[in-house]
Amino acid sequence: MVRLILRRLALLVPTLLGLSVLLFAWVRALPGGPATALLGERATPEAVERINALYGFDRPIVEQYVRYLGQLVTGNFGVSTRTGRPVLEEFASRFPATVELTVLALLLAVAVAIPLGYLAARHQGRTLDHLTVVASLLGVTVPVFFLAFLLKYAFAVELGWFPSSGRQDPAMIATHPTGLYVLDGLLTREWDASWDALVHLVLPALALGSIPLAVIARITRASVIDVQSADYVRTARAKGLLPRHVRDRVVLRNALLPVSTTIGLQVGLLLSGAVLTETVFAFPGIGSFLAEAVFNLDYAVLQGFILIIAVVYALVNLLVDVSYGLIDPRIAR
């Protein structure tokens, strides 16, 4: 187990190196440059040159890359050309918002998808099953941004049940020790702040969670169908186990093994989906900031954010693999 973790962490180094090369080349292949993006179309060539010299964009690309790597080793991700603040600082201030959003989206997805998948499997071939299959197909195929707009229009604009944008009501005054607003409110006993943050999260989390929900529901359904015809389920019934114990300890416990792998894989999807969702709901997380960075050709932010997201994704999947050993005793050695 220890060896597995060490090996996976060691593998992360070449992965990130490769990714950094790709990113470096890719952001520079985008039309235009940070200077024109900053100064506008009618900037004088001298002004553009000054900006480029300031950030070192006038040097050969290999030299730029080597310098960038040198900075990375010391934990310096560079400075945003748009805000002038260090990339790491920008990331740290926005990451909690995205964490809150993805965690809630995943919780919503799992909480709905597993019971739904289980019920569909139990009603295999009947109406409820068909409805679930159709709904999950829709969930996978409807684009996230479209669903986000739809939800925003229906529940925020028309019905007014939820706020249409942001993380927190502008009039709300609250302290934020962790940056996770819902948690902050609980810690500081500012219940209304917690509630306000939660209300702001509902629609984005629903939009973001739709695809994982659909995927997890389908995997759960297939897995339960597979497991419930297993010999050990029949034996569990034969030995007089109570029906709820057959369901929880035998069917679900075994059926959720493949589901847990799927959940881990969804984290990557959630992080990329966050870019669209956060933009639609003007939610101040890393996603919306990243989208702005693309428009502004903010090289350092693009490179830095995507690299950190890759690390987060790799760590989450490592965590899932490690925890798999805890869920399935046959794997743990």
């Binding site: 220890v2 060896r3 010999d231 034996t235 186990l241 300890r249 093994l257 005793p329 050695r333």
Partner: protein, 592 residues
């Protein structure tokens, strides 16, 4: 023993609903089980024996239903009981020991907990107080070191240990009736014997009635007071075990007895009976094969002389075809613990033997003896760690050796037949394509020639030609194994490696396939390497026997020597463990 039966099945009918309509799997079944009595239901697969058992415990597969008759337990009709009431009787009044220990334990739950929950849910002990009783039950079922074992997972148990855990669960709530559905057919003979002894003793001392479901007549006769023989969903005969075996009334029972291989039976001697014998067998096969069959065995039999002349030309019957010399195979196993190194494991240890041309050499042993590893090395699917395997004087080229051309040539001459005819045929290939494929792969003849060859092969294995367009899923187990044989023979190999080739078949079908193999050997001069755990089968087919234990050959010799004068204790224990060994079967074991 009380007068009123504990379980009384009256005119039971069970039907399954399928897309095609309703099929009746069991009809008009009636028999009794008295308290404390063991009754065996015997039959081949598809006879309805397991369906009858499933109906008693109320666990018919999803689309199955009791459509007639009664299942009276203590006078209460289980078939008329609402599902929740019936569920309450499971575990507490009716216990079950299932067939396959490998697939019947919850893989993600500690074995002890699986016994605990049986006790708690059947209200034998209150929640949280089950452990001591669990350990007692596991000990009682013959599990050594039960206290420690209870804290392990099923994958840490051997098959025999798992079956003991399942017996502990089946008997945990002290049911009045225990349904044992082929409780040991997945285990080695010696393990089978100790587990059955334990189960017999346990149920006798507890006064539990046992409904034993088995395909093995010898085992049924040995363990049960009464035997019920089922065929095609109906009871064809029932009565006290001994009387039934001594004087079987129904033709099916007689056929079952005749087909059951036993140690008294002799080598199937077709070679010496010559063409006439081969024809007789072919006729027998025709009689038992469903469907029409236009071409007789006369044409292939006529070719027999040619085939034997062929063998003679290659070096003659009895000269060595395969020479296995001091072969070992070492695997590396992953070690236990956090930072453990991998451990070497010697699966095959310094094994030597020879397969002579036109003869059958059997390698027998229990699971883990290394017999299948030997087979794989001879097939060139595994490379020996040391030693040499020569085929017709040339060293066998296995996967990681370079000479591809030699390997292809070798593959033409050596063909396998595997145990599971369900798994070893591609379900998406028609039978025609399955048999034709090796011809196509090795570019033998043109399309028309290949078609003629496939038709001839179907005749050889006595299968009607109209099966050629079907898929394996539409065939019976026996038919599929014949297809596997036809496929193996397509390239006219010299050696056929049969790895447990008849173990998955019912005795009657098994006997047909064994006769077919013997017939083909006589006609085509084939050599067989016969890998099996079943000594009674080996007795019927082999000329020479190697007994393997723990990777080593512990005994080697002619079949008569090994069976009549076993030289080692291990061989003696294997022979002693065969069920029904001491029984005098009415129809005689040697009626081949």
């Amino acid at each position: 023993m009380s007068e009123a039966p504990l379980l009384s099945i009256r005119d039971l009918e069970v039907s399954f609903r399928t897309d095609a309509g309703t099929t009746t799997a069991v009809r008009g079944v009636s028999f009794d089980v008295r308290a404390g009595e063991t009754v065996a239901v015997v039959g081949e697969s598809g006879s309805g024996k397991s369906t009858t058992a499933a109906a008693v415990i109320g666990l018919l597969a999803g689309n199955g239903r009791v459509t007639g008759g009664q299942i009276l337990l203590d006078g209460v009709d289980l078939a008329a009981l609402p599902p929740t009431e019936l569920a309450r009787l499971r575990g507490s009044r009716i216990g079950m020991v299932p067939q396959d220990p490998m697939s019947n334990l919850n893989p993600v739950r500690l074995v002890g907990r699986q016994v605990d929950e049986t006790l708690v849910d059947n209200e034998v002990v209150p929640a949280g107080r089950a452990r001591a009783r669990t350990v007692e039950l596991l000990e009682e079922a013959g599990l050594p070191d039960a206290g420690r074992r209870a804290r392990q997972y099923p994958h840490e148990f051997s098959g025999g240990m798992r079956q003991r855990a399942l017996i502990a669960m089946g008997l945990a709530a002290r049911p009045a009736l225990l349904i044992a559905d082929e409780p040991t057919s997945a285990l080695d003979v010696t393990v089978q014997r100790t587990i059955l002894d334990n189960l017999t003793e346990l149920t006798r001392s507890l006064g539990v009635a046992v409904l034993l479901i088995t395909h093995d007549l010898g085992l049924a006769a040995e363990r049960a007071q009464r035997v019920v023989v089922m065929y095609g969903g109906e009871v064809v005969e029932q009565g006290p075990s001994e009387a039934l075996l001594r004087a079987p009334q129904h033709p099916y029972t007689r056929r079952l007895l005749a087909a059951a291989p036993s140690l008294a039976s002799r080598r199937i001697e077709l070679a010496k009976q010559g063409v006439l014998g081969a024809d007789a067998v072919a006729a027998d096969l025709l009689a038992t094969t469903a469907g029409e069959h236009g071409h007789g065995a006369a044409a292939p039999a006529g070719a027999a002389a040619g085939a034997r002349a062929d063998v003679a030309a290659r070096g003659g019957v009895g000269t060595p075809l395969v020479e296995v010399e001091h072969v070992s195979k070492v695997f590396s196993l992953r070690g236990k613990g956090l930072l453990a190194r991998s451990q070497p494991f010697t699966a095959v240890d310094d094994v030597s033997f020879v397969v002579p041309r036109g003869r059958t050499v059997a390698v027998v042993g229990e699971s883990g003896s290394g017999k299948s590893t030997v087979a794989r090395m001879i097939l060139g699917l595994l490379t020996p760690s040391s030693g040499r395997i020569r085929f017709d004087g040339e060293e066998v080229a296995s996967g990681d050796r370079v000479d591809r051309a030699a390997q292809v040539r070798f593959r033409r001459r050596v063909q396998p037949i595997f145990q599971d005819p369900y798994a070893s045929l591609d379900p998406l290939y028609t039978i025609y394509r399955t048999i034709e494929e090796p011809l196509r792969v090795h570019r033998v003849g043109d399309a028309a020639a290949r078609r003629d060859r496939v038709h001839a092969l179907m005749d050889d294995v006595a299968l009607p030609h109209d099966l050629l367009r079907r898929y394996p899923g539409e065939l019976s187990g026996g038919q599929r194994q014949r297809v596997a044989i036809a496929r193996a023979l397509a390239l006219e190999p010299e050696l056929v490696v049969c790895d447990e080739a008849v173990s998955a078949l019912d005795v009657v079908v098994q006997s047909q396939v064994l006769h077919l193999l013997a017939d083909l050997q006589a006609r085509l001069g084939l050599s067989y390497l016969f890998i099996s755990h079943d000594l009674a089968v080996v007795r019927q087919v082999a000329d020479e026997v190697c007994v393997m234990q723990g990777g080593r050959v512990v005994e080697r010799g002619s079949v008569d020597d090994v069976f009549e004068r076993p030289a080692t204790d291990y061989t003696r224990s294997l022979l002693a463990a065969i069920p029904g060994r001491g029984l005098q079967l009415g129809a005689g074991g040697d009626a081949a």
